[in-house]
């Protein structure tokens, strides 16, 4: 019987588990970030914050459906200054746990991204993740920067000039050429990638109401329905760039997590799977992953990272 070790290295950070609490899930408060870490997440990501506070879209904003979740929260956040304080409080407890903190930022322009990065950097997160791929705010901001390589690179360059620490860019599964976007943001200074954000936007219609359910009408699709698309994105990107990838999209089991690593991910995001199951999902996936690795004769995840490429 082989001894398994689920620790991974992510941009020179040691994670005791490959599971990363994805942005937008639970990350509103220091206390919930800490709880996810204590429950077994290897790293935790805060909810995206912008320079100024945002109320987000009215309810209905998050709904469960058979394929996972649909959401149009609309980047509700308290603003980067308050977020900095939340992150600071979180970091004080996360450091002793050995769980890296990833701070997610959002902006309407490259300059706003840079300002948000400067503010949250004061809380000393271990990584700043740049959300250029939210599909729920198109009516306000137009198409996400992540859909086009030069726009994505422009945001990356702006943040890179304002922040010297580890910089990850969160990509969109909706990009016509996600590999080109990935290559462009890496050339512009990204140290890593998170792939992917929600897809769509999609829509749910209520038969009796005869109208879309979400107040924003459309919203990002996550969960099980996203998994095959996320796998393909990570598979394609990891062949083209040499930076670590947090593979995110529909990960709800040890087997799904291992498949994401086989596609080329260094770590694995978990988001929608918290619905219903809560923080216990981290302990369960960690346990399933260790058992599966033993069954498959895998000692460390690095042995099979990207092995699906053959």
């Amino acid at each position: 019987m082989v001894e398994t070790d689920i620790r991974v290295n992510l941009a020179d950070l040691e994670l005791h588990s490959p599971l990363v609490l994805a942005s937008g899930v639970w990350g509103c408060a220091a206390e919930t970030l800490i709880r996810a870490a204590a429950a077994g997440a290897g790293a935790v990501t805060s909810k995206s914050c912008s320079v100024l506070p945002r109320r987000g879209h009215p309810n209905p904003a998050v709904l469960p459906w058979q394929g996972g979740l649909i959401n149009a929260v609309g980047l509700a956040n308290p603003g980067a200054a308050e977020e900095r304080d939340i992150l600071h409080r979180a970091q004080q407890s996360l450091r002793p746990l050995g769980v890296p903190l990833i701070a997610s930022i959002y902006g309407g322009t490259p300059e706003e991204y840079a300002r948000a990065a400067g503010l949250v950097a004061e809380a000393a997160p271990d990584i700043i993740e740049v959300n250029i791929s939210c599909p729920n705010v198109q009516s306000e901001f137009g198409y996400p920067f992540a859909l086009e390589a030069s726009a994505a690179a422009e945001v990356t360059s702006a943040v890179r000039s304002a922040y010297r620490g580890r910089l990850f860019i969160k990509l969109s599964p909706n990009a016509p050429d996600i590999v080109a976007v990935a290559a462009a943001v890496v050339r512009a200074g990204a140290d890593g990638l998170t792939a992917v954000n929600t897809m769509g936007p999609g829509m749910l219609i209520d038969t009796h109401a005869r109208c879309p359910i979400l107040s924003n009408k459309a919203g990002g699709i996550s969960g099980t329905a996203l998994r095959p698309i996320a796998l393909r994105c990570v598979y394609d990107i990891s062949q083209a760039v040499c930076v670590p990838i947090i593979g995110t999209g529909g990960i709800d089991s040890g087997e799904a997590a291992l498949q994401m690593v086989m596609a080329g991910a260094s770590a694995v995001g978990v988001g929608s799977a918290l619905a219903g199951e809560g923080a216990a999902v981290f302990e369960r996936i960690n346990r399933e992953l260790a058992i599966l690795m033993r069954t498959e004769g895998i000692t460390r995840l690095g042995e099979v990272r990207g092995c699906a490429h053959g």
């Binding site: 709880r35 998050v62 058979q66 308050e82 209520d206 109401a209 619905a275 219903g276």
Partner: protein, 247 residues
């Protein structure tokens, strides 16, 4: 198969509660634990969480305090309401003498507990308070279920003048368990009474919610998510968070 997200129900009966609230009795059932909640949606307006005041038939008690509740209060017999859930955890029953403390519209969260407890042969007492007489809710309903019902108003326009918590204090030595829902200041005061030796106590918290299923994190109270871990908590679980409301 495109399964519906919501149960669409129609209003079967409207009961006016004081001067600015209603109880909506719907035309279908939604079995739940006492204290669980549903997300209630009116298309084109909003969706918010409400505790089910009754489940057979599904019944909501609403105070008119915002756009959605205003629209709900204007519904008439035959109008449609959309519900998803029930979600969260309800009240555990502890012992055989239950004391319910409801402030404002929070009393709606306790009504089903009173009904279930009474049908199980338990004794129930309740203290229900509001700012003034016109804002008192569900007194008519609890009067039949409770061996003792104390009404309070801040201005003394009905029942005892003063806080509902103060009025309930006299019944605490009698009770095997206390159940409370109402304004956060009331719950905080209750949490801070713990040192003086009141019975085991559970509270139902109210928060702005988005998902209702423990994923978005909007409704956190300290490390707890009110939608998935609550809305009912043993008061010790949330006492620190109630006293230290971080943003």
């Amino acid at each position: 198969m495109a399964e519906p997200i919501y149960s669409c129900m129609r209003v079967a009966r409207v009961i006016h509660e004081g001067t600015c609230g209603v109880t909506l009795i719907l035309d279908n059932v939604l079995p739940c634990q006492a204290g669980q909640f549903v997300m209630v949606w009116l298309p084109g307006i909003e969706e918010r969480p409400f505790t089910l005041m009754n489940d057979v038939p599904a019944t909501l008690t609403i105070a008119d305090i915002g756009p959605l509740t205003h629209a709900l209060c204007a519904l008439k017999m035959g109008d449609s309401v959309w519900l998803r859930g029930p979600y969260g955890h309800g009240f555990p029953v502890f012992g055989d003498k239950l004391l319910l403390i409801g402030g404002g519209s929070g009393v709606a969260s306790l009504a089903l507990l009173a009904k279930r407890a009474r049908s199980s042969g338990l004794q129930v007492r309740a203290a229900v308070g509001a700012r003034s007489a016109g804002l008192l809710m569900l007194g008519w309903y609890l009067a039949d279920l409770c061996g003792k019902l104390t009404l309070t108003t801040d201005d003394g326009s009905r029942g005892l003048r003063g806080s509902v918590l103060q009025a309930a204090e006299t019944d605490m030595p009698w009770a095997t368990a206390v159940y409370a829902c109402g304004p956060e200041a009331m719950l905080r005061a209750l949490a801070n009474m713990r040192a003086t030796g009141v019975p085991p106590c559970w509270v139902s918290l109210e928060r702005v919610m988005r998902c209702g299923i423990g994923v978005c994190g909007s409704c956190h109270c300290g490390e707890h998510l009110v939608c998935a871990d609550g809305p009912v908590f043993a008061i010790e679980q949330v006492a620190v968070a109630l006293n230290n409301p971080h943003p």
